[in-house]
Structure formats: structure tokens, C-alpha cells
Symmetry: C2
Subunit: 340 residues, 2 copies
Amino acid sequence: MSLAQRLLNGDRRALARLLTYVENEHPDGEAALSDLFGHTGRAHIIGVTGAPGAGKSTLVTALAKALRAMGKTIAILAVDPTSPFTGGAILGDRIRMVDLTNDPGVFIRSMATRGSLGGLSRASRDAVRLFDAAGYAIVLIETVGAGQSEVEIARIAQTVLVVEAPGMGDDIQAIKAGILEIADVLVVNKADRPGVDTTVRALKLMLELGHPALRANIDSHHGRMVAVTPQPEAPNGNSAFWLPPIVQTTATTGGGIEPLIAAIERHHAYLRESGTLATLESRQINTELHERLRELLLRRLLDALPPHAIEDAVARIQRRETTPHEQIAQLVDAEQQPRL
Amino acid sequence: MSLAQRLLNGDRRALARLLTYVENEHPDGEAALSDLFGHTGRAHIIGVTGAPGAGKSTLVTALAKALRAMGKTIAILAVDPTSPFTGGAILGDRIRMVDLTNDPGVFIRSMATRGSLGGLSRASRDAVRLFDAAGYAIVLIETVGAGQSEVEIARIAQTVLVVEAPGMGDDIQAIKAGILEIADVLVVNKADRPGVDTTVRALKLMLELGHPALRANIDSHHGRMVAVTPQPEAPNGNSAFWLPPIVQTTATTGGGIEPLIAAIERHHAYLRESGTLATLESRQINTELHERLRELLLRRLLDALPPHAIEDAVARIQRRETTPHEQIAQLVDAEQQPRL
């Protein structure tokens, strides 16, 4: 029986093997993904990101336990784009998850980068598809929050949690630029610590100043600032836009996890009922096609070029005998010549 | 006279126009860059990155003033990848630079993204080349420090300053993963604030634990941890590796700026005398060729495809009638068919 078939039958070892294949770009991984693709599109994919030290791993563990208690199956993908420095930290964090690992309804996998961020992004997307096809109801993707990975997570996840903690720099400048644009739910973890109110206030102000949904609102009022009204909690979820709620948690004790799950479920309902889920998936597939076409075309060109063609071009450019622009044109033409 | 020629003659308006061209990907920008490329390769390109709130803009201003007093010409490129949220902050920061703007030996330019990060990265690289060709001895690139831009800066700069400030989260987890891998000089700014010793200690520990140069050292001792010895300050700069020094500054008063400039100059000397500068440039050109080939090949394919080919593929994938893998192969073949 193929690995793909075994995965569909619930074989955890087949899933583990296929995860290794996609991580290592083994050709059998691609074939299995194609076989399994028709079984994807059912999981709720939740990304968890935020500053290092905010307690993301503990939060993910607490979330997973609470969701398990509700009977949901969960896959956790811990993405670490910077193994040399945080390898230890990630391992330490994983130890806290140990009581989840004997649960057959939970699958935990870490993925570190050996190559480019692009490679990690692709491997993460493929891993999520494997979990999805294997029938896990919820896939939690956790990143160590090192820059690029936060942007990447938004390309894969459906609901993005951005985790902050009190005292991590609460002035507006210190809240990471751009992060609010990807947040669907803002979590202030370590809410038992002093300064939690300051952090919540700073986040609220940040939302009022700059959230795209509110900006759209402001724009439609001819540039005048309108009062920020709390989002109407329509039972059918048909709100015109989603305003990220701010949820306080104390992941170490499980405090606030229930309201957080409620917020996540509200967001999922909003995505489904507003049609945003389909738009989001279509945008993600579009991005994937562009990325993969770019890589495939480059690989084909490099394979077709004579050996050292790139190195030679680099050396000539470095000696200022030619320009990057000229060399690029020549490299592309060199490949197309033999075909004519 | 061409804009490129006028730039070479020291015409600031020609430089400003060409900067706008490369920012907007105007075709005349590419032509001018090709004309000017032979005049590049002389500037010292310094990147300044670090957490928001660390005082990067004030530091850049203080650095620029001190370097000007030493008779060097300076171009400053402020890169802001996330205009909606930080636009105000950047503008406010720029006001501090106002007494530099009447100095003909200084050129200041802000660049914000309207499109992709890739676009900003390319525009920044091109802008640096324009400054370089225009004869500025030093190009300072400042980013707002939002994730990806920190990685990008390492692709363009020769000497990277990573700026921290006391009390911004001094435990190892909170120091941004990966940032030490790109740092050539570590700056602890706001050194008049309490907690500066803690920050310096945390950075030192981080260096001892994980700097690539020291790791290499550890590896060569069969995995045993060796004592961290201060870098030998060889007068010829022929050290086997560069250990990032930690420099304390108080940019608002100019405190520590002289030692910082000395550290920057030591790094530049190390780069030149160890041959690392040529290796670095070669690696940067190599990356540029790969990036630009990827984009050019994709653009050619998209131009050759029938209208809606991508949208149709996305829709079929979303309906699970086909897989991304299959569609990518078909899209590439669709373009190549007519040529045979």
C-alpha cells in the first residue's frame, strides 16, 4: 500500500515518513502530495506568532490540551527558521508538550530550516496539507517569530494569533511594525504579570490608529476619524469586516484559554460565512503558483546553462566588465538559443 | 546630457530623479544603472538595523554628523517596508535630521514599499549603487527593523550594525533570533539608561553561545567549549575571523560615537585586508543574479500565457479537480509549446 493510502488509513508512521519527505524535498513526497490533494481543505489552520519570550509554546500546548478536551484532533507544526541560535530553546519548549505526545489525537512535529526560508515555507505548506489529508481537524503552526516567518505564516494559516506579553516594550514604536496587518486575534499572554493593562491599551490604540479594516472605515468617511465601535457579534457572522479581538491569557495555568478558543471559533465562522475563507484560499494558491513557477523556471534555466555560467557572470560583473542587467539577458538567451 | 552623466558631475537633482526612477521601476532607471555600474564599488555600505525603539534614527543622525566632521560624504537611505503603521514614526525621526539636509556632503532619502518586499530590496540595492556612483564615501542604510528587512540589509550592506537598547527584553530568548548572525558591530544605544550592563552581559553571553565565528572555533576543538578570548587587534587586520565588538552609545548626546566609528573602520579594514570584501561582493552579486533571473523568467512566462491562465488554474485547484504540481507543469509547457 502506498504511503499516501496508509496516511489516509490513519497510519502515523506513514504520516511521519511523508513529513520527512517533504522536509527533504524527496520526490516521493511530491507524488504523495498530488495523491492526497483531493483530501485537503477541511482542517482549520491556525498560525501562532509573536515576539520571542511571549510564551507561544506554552500557549500552543494549553490550546492543544483544551481543544483535545473538546474532542478535536490536532496537529502541531513548530517552525524554526533559525536553528543555530534557538535550537535549544525550541527543544526546551517541546518538553512541556510531552504529556500530549502519548495522545493518538495529537501529532507534533518540529521543522527547522537547513536551506532557504523559501524552502521552509514550502515544506510548511506541504506539511499542513499532509496533516489536513490525514484528517486532523485543527493544524496549529507555531513560529519562533523571527521576521520573515511571520509573513510566511500568513500565507499558510487561516486564523493568525499574534501573541504579546506585558513589559515587552509597550510604546507603539516597539510593537512590531506590520504584525497587526496579519493578526486575526491578538493574545496578551502572561496576563498575571504587572503591566498587562498597559499592553492591552497599547494594542487597542494601535488597532484604532492603523488596522486596515478600520482604515477602510475611515477612508469611507472621507478621511475623518470615526469612533472605533466594537465589532457587532452577528450570530451569522456576516460582519462587513473582522476587527481583531484582544484576548488575555495565562497559558501556564490555562487562564483565558476558553475565551481564546471562542474567539478563534468566531473567526473561523466569520471566514466561512462571509466567503472570506474561499477568497483566502484562492489568494494562497495564487501565491503558491507564482512562487513555484519562479523556482521551476530558475531550476530549468540553471540545469540548461553550461557549468560555471553563473560564476563566470559574477566574476565579470565584479570586475565591472559588464553589468548585472546585461548578464541576466545573456544568461536567459544562452539557454533559449539551442531550442531555436 | 544624460541623467547618469549629470549624476557623475555631482548634480543632486539628477540623483534624486534617478532614485525616483529605481523606486518606481521606470525603464530609464535600469539604463542609467547600467551606464553607472562601472563607477560603483567604492563606497563603504553600512546597514543599521535592530528593534524598533532602540534609537536607530538618532544614532544614524549622530553617526552622519561625526563622519561629516571627519570630511566624509554620506548618503542615508531610510528603508521602511511597512508604511501604513510606521509612516508617522519615520517622518518624526527624519525631522531630527533636518540640520543635515543643508549640507551638500549629505544626501538623505526615504524609501517605502508600495509593492512586495522583493521590490523594496531591489530598489534599495539600486539606490545604493546610485549613491556609490555619485561618489558618496559612505552609504548608511537604516531599516525600521521589521523582520525581513533585517535579512535584506545583510544582502546589501558590507558592515551591519545591530542596535539594542537597555530594558528591551534582555533574556536570551528575547534577543531576536538570527540577528547576531548578521551583526558585524553590536551597538547598545541609550547607554545612559539603567540596565545597560544587563544588556551588554546578555549580548556577550549570546555571542559566546552562538556566534558562527566562535562556533567554528568550538568545532575545531572537537566540540569542546573553549574560553572566549578577545579578538586580537592585529594592526594589519588579518584576523582569522571577526568577532562583533559591543559598543555603548548615547546617540542623543553623541556619547560613544567615536568608538563606534573606530569599530566600523576596523571592520572595513578587516573586510579589505582579509579578502572578505571581495567574497562578500561576489556572494551578493550571485544572489542578485538568481533573484533577477527568477523574476525575469516568471515575467516572460506570464506574458506568454493566455489571459486568465493563472486564475483558471487557481480555480481548478481550489475545486480539487487538479493539483498545484500538475498545474505548474501544464503552465510551463503551455508557454513552451508554440516554440517547438
